[in-house]
């Protein structure tokens, strides 16, 4: 479990993280979302004690990171896959990390197997593709078989096969009861992975809610229609408090009303519809809308507690 309370970080005059409070619970994948520069990496660095908070605190399993008994057995993190000494072989990189916490060599071989780097373990990591580097970083995070795992943008640079592999890995780690905290600036990456979302923008908390709730918010109030009589429909929709927008081809999007409401409106006004369907505002759109001007939005807290 990771708990942040009023966590803030100031770099010079810029407040990179601004009073963040959240709890990341075990047994599920928590997505940490925000546009680039929102403060995700800074937050993760503070969790790991690499950067010191300007204000507030963050604990892992109830302790500050530096006070953990054996850091690697409690937290495994992949912050920046390229943050390795390129002149060192993958095996020696993992070995030198394992040795700090008294983790046996056989575990080094094990994690190399888990991430599938057996063929290149003896090679210097300088020549690794980004995908291979990501796998090496994940191997390092898994070394201590920790309860808490953090991944900063883990699918960057991975091919579809690699992305699928990471998704399955994160899901299985969470299924084992571990805390899995994974950041991304792309909502689409979270769609099939995260159970819970923490969304930040400009260093502030925007949303902290179950994935389902976030999705529902985005899809509730929209419909796609086709009609030969768009003038009258626009008027009726506007009168009902909605808004009609021209979409692709001959489609229109109704915002602010559900498909059921649009159907009712059309019937009672005698407007012919050729097509009517609930519009799935994509998660990506919901996310963009939510973070477009993050300061305007109040933090909303999810149903867990």
């Amino acid at each position: 479990m990771i708990e942040a309370r009023g966590l803030s970080k100031r770099y010079g005059g810029k407040l990179a993280v601004d009073g963040l409070s959240f709890t990341v619970l075990p047994g599920r994948v928590t997505g940490f979302l925000g546009p680039n520069g929102a403060g995700k990496t800074t937050t993760m660095r503070m969790i790991l004690g690499i950067d010191r908070p300007t204000a507030g605190s963050v604990t892992v399993n109830g302790k500050r990171f530096a006070e953990l008994y054996s850091a690697m057995r409690e937290v495994g993190a992949l912050l920046d896959a390229t943050a390795v000494h390129g002149g060192r072989s993958a095996y020696n990189h993992l070995l030198c990390l394992a040795q700090t916490n008294g983790i046996p060599r056989r575990r080094v071989d094990e994690v190399i197997g888990i991430v599938g780097l057996e063929d290149v373990a003896g090679k210097r990591s300088k020549g690794f593709s980004l995908g291979m580097s990501q796998r090496l970083g994940i191997a390092a995070a898994l070394l201590g078989d920790p309860d808490v795992l953090m991944f900063d943008e883990p699918v960057n640079g991975l091919d579809p096969e690699g992305i699928r592999w990471i998704r399955l890995l994160m899901r299985s780690l969470a299924a084992e009861g571990r805390t899995v905290f994974v950041s991304s600036h792309l909502m689409s990456e979270m769609e099939n992975t995260a159970d819970h979302l923490i969304v930040i923008g400009r260093g502030k908390l925007i949303a902290d809610c179950p994935m389902a709730e976030f999705t529902a918010d985005g899809t509730a109030q929209a419909a796609t229609v086709k009609t030969p009589d768009d003038q009258r429909l626009a008027g009726a929709v506007a009168a009902a408090g909605g808004q009609l927008e021209r979409g692709e081809a001959d489609e229109f999007t109704v915002r602010g009303l559900s498909a059921e409401q649009v159907g009712q409106l059309a019937l009672s006004n005698g407007i012919l519809l050729h097509y009517l369907a609930p519009a799935r505002v994509s998660l990506e759109e919901a996310f963009m809308e939510l973070t477009a001007d993050s300061v305007e939005y109040q933090a909303k807290t999810g149903a867990q507690k």
Binding site: L48, I50, F65, R73, H85, G86, G87, C96, G177
Partner: protein, 274 residues
């Protein structure tokens, strides 16, 4: 606070017998230093420069003859002290600045958040590796140098007074300079910046000091971080100039500078964001 569901899973890693600290860090740092090529290139350069200088210098003395103040131990060891030291400065800075330039420091701190332990462990491993190798080059330079000097019977032996001290201190002073660079590296965090700064201090300050009025320079020279103040270290005879401390005295001065930089580096390493 919610109580998390307690899931019991098989542990792939045995529990820690004791809190991870210095012993594990020493093993880890030894793996780090021996698993990158730059270590070998630097150490090889140190060996070649020290021994090469000993050969060239002693051969020169044999062919041209010796002047006043000649000391056979010094003749074979100045390469180690003057040149080897410069090369080790590069390695001392690199072992820590490379962590910052590659980003490895963030991984290192994420597995060993006890920064004081990490800083000390890294310094100890670097010092041990450097001192071990410097002892080898120091003795090798000495024996090769003496073998060359023996053709004109200029040579000395380890049994003579202060000769062993000169050989050992020549190895130790190289390590001291390495640690000084390590501290500077932790403070500056950029390879080129740290190396340039240290070389600047070692070369420039003694050189600039010579521009001072003679009386001032005479009072200052024994305290300077390089130049003439280094000369007593490798000599088995008293210093050439009365303005210098003895070998041990000058060694203490350099160790003092190294201690100050190590302490500043520790402060930066522990306090500053990585």
């Amino acid at each position: 606070m919610t109580t998390a569901a307690v899931t019991v899973r098989a542990r792939a890693v045995p529990a820690a017998a004791r809190r991870p600290g210095l012993p594990g860090t020493l093993r880890s740092e030894l793996t780090k230093i021996v698993s990158v090529r730059s270590t070998y290139w630097t150490l090889l350069a140190q060996v070649l420069a020290s021994i090469g200088w000993a050969i060239a210098n002693c051969a020169g003395l044999v062919s041209h003859g010796v002047g006043p103040g000649f000391n056979p131990a010094e003749a074979s060891l100045t390469g180690q002290v003057a040149l080897g030291e410069l090369i080790i400065v590069v390695l001392g800075a690199l072992v820590i600045t490379s962590e910052y330039s590659t980003g490895m420091i963030r991984t290192s701190l994420a597995v060993m958040p006890r920064r004081g332990v990490l800083y000390a462990g890294k310094a100890m491993v670097f010092a041990a590796v450097t001192f071990a190798l410097s002892l080898v080059t120091s003795f090798t330079s000495f024996f090769i140098g003496q073998a060359i000097l023996s053709s004109k019977h200029y040579n000395t032996t380890l049994a003579q007074p202060d000769v062993l001290r000169a050989v050992l201190l020549s190895a130790a002073i190289v390590t001291v300079f390495g640690l000084l660079a390590y501290g500077a590296g932790a403070l500056i965090r950029h390879s080129a910046g740290a190396i340039t700064s240290i070389l600047g201090v070692i070369f420039l300050i003694p050189a600039l000091a010579q521009a001072l009025p003679n009386a001032w320079f005479a009072d200052l020279v024994r305290w300077l971080p390089g130049g003439e103040a280094l000369s007593p270290i490798a000599r088995s005879a008293p210093p050439l100039s009365a303005h210098l401390f003895s070998a041990w005295g000058e060694f203490a001065v350099f160790s003092g500078y190294a201690a100050v930089l190590l302490a500043l580096g520790a402060w930066a390493f522990i306090r500053r964001d990585a």
